[in-house]
């Protein structure tokens, strides 16, 4: 068998320059999360398969066993491990957690959507209500802006709205599943062929067509009678009010056709988009039931931003500047060079010390190749 000296399918190295840029974004996001009171946690990156089995399809998890033969898997997202952690913790509620970590998702094809990528996110656990929802969405928007992405569109929906419509229209479970798929794919043909009243059809078709903010909510309000659906619309209205206070309404559209996995999400859901990447860079929502799997009952809301996709977007939008390395190189007489380099470093200037005894010409040539602006060649006692 041939030796494999390259990265596994779906994984890439972060090269100098890009990696430094990524770290800089991480620093900005870490700072943003901290300023909002979200404390960072680090989960092991390896979980028991049981932790994920209710939420993620088995074929999307990298699996292996521990020494006792128990099934393990790698970290798929930030939310589930955070919920597992919070469920077992005795910290005062609400609990505000954040993370910046690598995620591993098997079975996704290459080209920008990779098997390994970095997400930054927050989880607000043990908190209900529109103000909690809005806080998380506001921080999601701030996080995109913080990375330098300004062309941002955030679609906000509500899981409870569709569930309410299903009750109101008396759709069977099979029909509801079919309609849900149809709306998620904006496939109006299926809805038009349903055996329901014309008014109900119109309401369902509106889900695939309507966009806007308050006007979108208002256009649905007279069409719903189910209490859950009305509550969902009120929740969105309150969220919009708070986001308006941040001046963020310009980034937001209401999309009641946003169909996320109902096993996972229970209330508000949102996705963030920008130009030049075909996938959402932000995803989040309210998930009040997840912690029940772990024996707790914590209402929660959270979001994550893919740093990997954000960097791709920034590169394609010409907003990426690789972060340069050291800008000074010191060579020549080793003792003097070493002392000079140390002095520079103590002043906060990144300095490379030549440890290989290059001549002045060699040092200049190397500096040019590496893009180091300043060359200091020390002449020792001869000067």
């Amino acid at each position: 068998m041939a030796n494999k000296y390259y990265t596994p399918d779906g994984f890439t190295d972060q090269l100098p320059g890009v990696c430094a840029f990524k770290r800089e974004l991480e620093t900005r996001l870490r700072n943003l999360f901290m300023l909002n009171g979200y404390e960072e946690i680090e989960t092991p990156g390896i979980e028991y398969l049981d932790v994920y089995k209710n939420f993620v399809a088995e074929e999307n998890l990298y699996k292996f066993t521990d020494t006792k033969g128990r099934l393990l898997c790698t970290r798929f997202d930030g939310t589930i491990p955070a919920a597992r952690f919070a469920a077992g913790s005795s910290e005062a509620l609400p609990l505000r957690l954040s993370y910046i970590e690598n995620m591993f998702r098997m079975g996704q094809v290459g080209g920008g959507k990779q098997a390994g990528f970095t997400q930054a996110g927050i989880e607000l656990l043990g908190a209900t209500g529109s103000a909690s929802d809005a806080e998380v969405i506001a921080i999601a928007i701030k996080s995109a802006l913080e990375t330098g992405i300004t062309d941002l569109q955030v679609s906000v929906g509500q899981i409870g709205f569709f569930a309410g419509l299903v009750r109101q229209m008396g759709l069977s479970e099979d029909d509801a599943a079919e309609v849900k798929d149809a709306i998620a794919n904006m496939n109006s043909v299926i809805i038009e062929n349903l055996d329901i009243s014309d008014e109900d059809k119109k309401t369902l078709l509106m889900l695939t067509e309507t966009s806007g903010t308050y006007d979108a909510i208002d256009s649905f309000m007279p069409r719903v009678t189910d209490e859950g659906a009305i509550k969902a619309l009120e929740n969105l209205k309150e969220i919009l009010d708070i986001l308006d206070g941040y001046g963020f309404l310009k980034y937001v559209t209401v999309d009641l056709g946003l169909m996320e996995d109902a096993r996972y999400y229970t209330g508000v859901v949102f996705k963030g988009y920008t130009y030049e990447v075909g996938f959402p860079i932000i995803g989040g929502g309210r998930y009040d039931n997840i912690s029940k799997t772990f024996g707790a009952d914590l209402s929660a809301v959270g979001f994550s931003i893919s740093l990997t996709l954000a960097i791709t977007a920034l590169m394609r939008q010409d907003k990426f500047t690789p972060v340069a390395g050291a800008q000074v190189i010191v060579g020549g007489d080793f003792a003097i060079a070493a002392a000079t380099a140390e002095t520079l470093r103590s002043e906060g200037t990144a300095a490379v010390l030549d440890t290989t005894g290059m001549t002045e010409d060699e040092l200049n040539e190397y500096a040019e190749k590496k893009g180091i602006a300043t060359v200091m060649y020390m002449n020792g006692g001869e000067a």
Binding site: G111, G112, K113, D151, Q153, S155, N185, M186, N187, S188, V189, S211, T253, D255, Y273, T274, Y275, E276, V277, G278, F279, P280
Partner: protein
């Protein structure tokens, strides 16, 4: 600027006819050349000509904002796309076909071998719709040969007129799905370029209704 992925071949021409009817200037795309990207700056349109089975990929990754592709390809590739419009062109059926004597007796053959260009559609149909295990043999063309040579008992393939089947002593045994050309849209483009995409879909819809 909207990038539109067209399925190379007859479907591309039919799509352009429809776009023209909807009031779009598609002369750039009609240009007879070997260029794969045809751009019309003034009309704000860029066409890319792709192999049909690649169209969903270009659209899913956002390399194209929208595309026109057969439902067969969509079912087979199973991508996360908005499927916004049925163009009603390129109509045909995805069928299980085999020797005519198997008609109504398909379920009596255990552990069928199925020859097909569409392994995912075939697997989904037999495993999830019919709750049956089958052995799938992936072929790349002239699928009708499989039952004739004993490579497989039946095939799953597109049937338009059915002539090739009948002339070879085969027949349609079951219908898996109705197929026609669909307009698909990238999920991000739909949000970021809504002002360009939604009017285009509306115009195409009207052009379609006029054609009826």
């Amino acid at each position: 600027m909207l990038t539109i992925a067209l399925s190379k071949g007859r479907l591309a021409d039919q799509t352009l006819d429809l776009m023209e009817k909807a009031g779009y200037d598609v002369s750039a795309a009609r240009e007879k050349s070997r260029k794969l990207i045809l751009e019309d700056e003034a009309a704000g349109l860029r066409f890319i000509l792709a192999k049909p089975s690649d169209v969903p990929t270009y659209v899913e990754y956002g390399a194209a904002d929208l595309g026109v592709v057969g439902k067969d390809t969509l079912l087979e590739e199973g991508r996360g796309l908005y499927e916004v419009l049925d163009l009603g062109i390129g109509k045909c059926r995805m069928c299980v076909a085999g020797p005519a004597e198997l008609k109504d007796k398909l379920d009596q053959i255990p552990n069928k071998r199925v020859g097909t260009k569409y392994p995912n559609i075939t697997r989904h149909y037999f495993e999830e719709v019919k709750n049956e295990s089958v052995e799938i043999i992936k072929l790349n063309g002239s699928v009708e040969l499989a039952p004739l040579t004993g490579l497989a008992e039946v095939i799953v393939d597109i049937v338009e007129s059915g002539r090739t089947l009948y002339e070879n002593g085969l027949d349609v045994l079951e219908t898996v799905a109705d197929i026609s050309a669909r307009v698909v849209v990238n999920r991000v483009s739909m949000k970021m370029k809504e002002d360009e995409i939604k009017p285009m879909i509306a115009k195409l819809k009207i052009a379609l209704q006029q054609g009826e």
